[in-house]
């Protein structure tokens, strides 16, 4: 299923399937309420009752990890969706219309590009104050640029293709050329970038939550869990190891899927493209 560092199609389907099933049924399979405080049960080690032990407030870590998956992954999907909705249309229009509008939009994008992702996100969420929605806003402001640039560059290369010229000869109007010939190519490339980005966004959400800018207690979120657990690292190292490993595994899954999609689209281009 995993062939060297490449992953095969059944492997991908299995991974994606398992992953989404876990995320969706997470609240139903959680043995405890993830926010239920039981001071009598605090800092319990890993056992059959508490698979991953309990934290400093006696909450079941296994239940919190499951609930946190929804917070972390849900938030990252929200960030992705908004970034796509803002970035892709701007890039499409910019590349397709060209001229002055294109130059204006691209200078705007360049201004954002001048600063590293994390710096902009930290500054923005710092200014707006902690909280999940401010965090989403801050990361979207960083992420939409990549999609705008990718959509624009795809449109610019597609514009030169013979089949676009032929479509004009065939009497297809500009809106239909966009819909029929441009958007499918743009979306193909964008989906690959989005999957590869999902891992990075999860890391970003977790990092910003870890430094206290994202999800606030008692919302279960993996980065915030790491933050809360660091005071108890010597007594209960599993409190940090388990959210850390969860982040690692999920980022790995998204990167594998992204790599697979990228290879998949490359092969198709070799056969079908110029």
């Amino acid at each position: 299923m995993i062939n060297g560092f490449r992953i095969t199609k059944p492997g991908i389907l299995l991974l994606i399937g398992l992953f989404f099933i876990t995320i969706i049924i997470a609240p139903y399979i959680a043995p405890f309420d993830p926010t239920d405080v039981k001071m009598g049960d605090r800092l319990k080690p890993i056992s059959l009752e508490h698979f991953f032990g309990t934290d400093h407030l006696g909450r079941d870590v296994f239940s919190r990890i499951l609930a946190g998956a929804q917070t972390t992954v849900g938030t990252s999907f929200l960030v992705l969706a908004i970034s796509l909705l803002i970035g892709v249309p701007i890039g499409l229009v910019s590349g397709f219309v060209g001229g002055r509008l294109d130059r204006f939009l691209m200078r705007f994008v360049d201004a954002f590009m001048a600063f590293p992702d994390y710096i902009v996100a930290i500054i923005l969420s710092g200014l707006l104050g902690p909280g999940i929605f401010n965090l989403v806003f801050a990361i979207v402001m960083v992420k939409w640029i990549g999609y705008a640039r990718l959509a624009r560059s795809t449109v610019l290369t597609e514009k030169q293709r013979d089949y676009i010229l032929i479509a004009k000869v065939n009497g297809v109007g500009p809106m239909n050329i966009l819909r029929r010939h441009m958007i499918p190519h743009v979306l193909g490339n964008v989906m690959v970038l989005a999957t590869l980005d999902a891992g990075k966004i999860i890391l970003m959400i977790a990092s910003l939550s870890y430094i206290g800018l994202g999800a606030q207690p008692p919302i279960p979120e993996w980065g915030a869990m790491l933050n809360e657990a660091k005071a108890f690292f010597y007594n209960a190292p599993h409190l940090m190891l388990i959210p850390g490993l969860s982040i690692m595994v999920i980022v790995l899954i998204f990167n594998l899927v992204g790599d697979y999609l990228r290879d998949h689209y490359d092969v198709k281009n070799q056969n079908g493209g110029k």
Binding site: R161, D162, Y163, L165, I166, A167, K168, V169, N170, G171, V172, G173, N176, R180, H181, P184, H185, G188, K268, N269, N271, G272, G273, K274
Partner: protein, 261 residues
């Protein structure tokens, strides 16, 4: 400007400059008559393809006039453009690039008919609006089995793909087809078959061709009249029977030498 009944396209002193100021097409004049194949031969970079794009109204000319029947293409007014989109078609050099890799053959093939609903080609009588049947008929005209309709371009060979683009070009029964190096990217054995197909279709449909190639042999095989282009200018023009005449320009003789040698 008066247009004689028999003339499909008239170009007069057409000049196209690139932003560098260099003239890709320089004061070119020619006439394409009804049912005729006009050959255009020249080395790569001589401005052949730019001229083709001007005739297709994909590029605006800087100077000169291009008349298609009674319509002035050089003015590029919307109404006239819509008219030539149903009368002028094109086949390009690289069939892989001329077919969208993400579309099925039937969707690429039917693009002109799908987007210009009111065209009624005579050879699609009765099946014009039965999409599948019309597509099958078109493939039959270029000698391809209908099983390819549901394939994607990468499943077809180069010659098969070029047959599809030819079927697409004839689908709206145009008056003029621009053939820009239609065989240059194909194997030699396939080249001959495609050229024979193009000739047969021309007889059957009564369409005019502008056949563009760097290959004098191919141009001579296809065309009734031949123009020779060099550095954006037409340097020689003659009937195919006068190709070996002593009166030919030195540059034509040079090309002929390559062709014979």
């Amino acid at each position: 400007m008066r247009i004689v009944e028999q003339e499909v396209l008239v170009a007069k002193n057409v000049t196209k400059q690139y932003s560098s100021g260099q003239k890709a097409v320089d004061q070119v004049s020619f006439v394409i008559k009804k049912d005729e194949c006009l050959g255009l031969v020249g080395e790569s970079g001589s401005g052949k393809s730019t001229l083709a794009r001007c005739v297709l109204a994909l590029e605006k000319v800087d100077q000169g006039e291009i008349w298609f029947k009674e319509k002035p293409l050089h003015l590029a007014n919307k109404e006239d453009l819509r008219y030539i989109r149903r009368e002028v078609q094109a086949v390009f050099q690289n069939p892989a690039a001329a077919l969208n890799p993400k579309l099925k053959i039937i969707d690429s093939l039917m693009e002109p008919l799908d987007f210009q609903k009111n065209i009624q080609p005579s050879f699609l009588k009765g099946i014009r609006h039965q999409r599948e049947k019309a597509a099958e008929q078109l493939l039959e005209m270029v000698e391809l089995p209908s099983k390819y309709l549901s394939c994607y371009p990468h499943e077809l060979s180069g010659g098969q793909k070029q047959r599809v683009t030819i079927a697409r070009a004839i689908s709206i029964e145009p008056a003029l087809i621009i053939l820009d190096e239609p065989t240059a990217s194909l194997d030699v054995s396939v080249q001959a078959k495609i050229m024979n197909l193009l000739k047969d279709l021309q007889q059957y449909l009564g369409v005019s061709y502008l056949f563009i190639s760097h290959d004098l042999a191919a141009v001579n095989f296809m065309s009734d009249r031949i123009m020779v282009m060099k550095q954006g200018k037409i340097v020689d023009e003659f009937s195919k029977y006068d190709l070996f005449s002593l009166k030919r320009e030195p540059y034509t003789k040079e090309l002929l030498h390559v062709f014979e040698g």
